[in-house]
Symmetry: C2
Subunit: 213 residues, 2 copies
């Protein structure tokens, strides 16, 4: 009997929920119906204590000796993360990376439906990207408002990132995923931004490597 009804789940816990979800989906494909905290922990390089502590924030109980019913837990985590319904996303920037992101199958598979891709470069507008066509960024506001789009992904040159973010916010997105190295400034408008920081990932890796020597 858990039930915690806490109104605030720690940031670090939410971040791990996304990873539990990925693991639970693999387990489902493997036909595994019950999973113990130790098993989940091992798969994600955590401790079983962390897993049980994390799961104490949600309204889902395990059973002694059996563990957690994996499909049930998967459904609860999807609900908590707000990924229990598909969500429309636009990509801004139709360069190599933008076009690849727009066609990335893992996003679709996980319920993120890329419904538009935009650029300001006349040479790119009209280009086919999978089943989409690159549109002029000047039409993005109308598109977002009419298409129930809640997330914008920024994949433009660094110098344009903030300007694009402002445009997305004005158009009414609720969240932004930023693939540039520019730190986006969102004042206090209630929009959330997550930074992918690809270059910074490689730099952390460099540090870890050079520390070994």
């Amino acid at each position: 009997m858990s039930s915690n009804a806490k109104n605030e789940i720690p940031k670090a816990v939410i971040s791990r929920y996304t990873r539990y979800l990925t693991a639970l989906r693999s387990l489902r494909e493997e036909g595994v119906h019950w999973v113990a905290s130790r098993e989940l922990a091992d798969r994600l390089h955590l401790t079983s204590s962390t897993v049980r502590q994390d799961l104490s924030y949600i309204d889902f109980s395990g059973i002694s000796k059996k563990g957690y019913e994996s499909e049930g837990l998967e459904a609860v985590l999807e609900k908590v993360l707000g990924v229990d319904a598909p969500c429309n996303v636009v990509v801004v920037g139709a360069g190599n990376l933008g076009r690849a992101i727009a066609q990335h199958e893992d996003f679709i598979k996980r319920g993120f439906n890329i419904s538009g891709i935009f650029d300001d470069d006349k040479a790119k507008i009209g280009m086919k990207v999978g089943s989409l066509v690159v549109s002029d960024v000047s039409s993005i506001t109308r598109f977002i408002k009419s298409g129930n789009v809640s997330i914008g992904i920024i994949v433009v040159p660094e110098s344009a990132a903030q300007e694009v973010a402002d445009m997305l916010v004005k158009a009414g997105v609720q969240g932004i995923l930023n693939f540039t190295s520019t730190q986006i400034d969102l004042s206090d408008n209630g929009v959330v931004c997550i930074e992918a920081r690809l270059v910074e990932c490689l730099q952390e890796l460099s540090h870890a490597i050079s520390r070994k020597k």
Copy 2:
């Protein structure tokens, strides 16, 4: 007069160093030679206290009333992160995302030289990707050993991720950047892996969005 000579810089601090570095590079482009902890903090949405605390781990002093000499600090951070010399990288997986990553200008600009791209799909081998040509993954070990490659980037379907990681380790890379959602297992072989977790970023965003309502 700082000098801390500590042998272990906290993980969270290293992670912010990569962000300071990005900010310092922008400052250089703007022609700014001195930067105060408050200014750096504001740009990255941190507190000035965090910035000064972080910088106390390295052997670089600011000056009262002026702040930090930005190019000097940039150089020291590059050294600490091990990004003061270019580094060779291979990409495994020549799908949309793999090809885009291999041509991503931000990587080159920051000293990560993509020197090869590999796939096991006959239809992709031989394909031109920027100035590279997709090679058969069976040749990757020889390539890595002879080309002084220290980092491998995994951009393959989830089901192949672990197998590719094992191959990269055997070939002798020292670090791995994983773009799939599969958690890579590296036992105890001294190789470091960083997970990009793109889908998980979007899911965190979903949570933050749905929490607002």
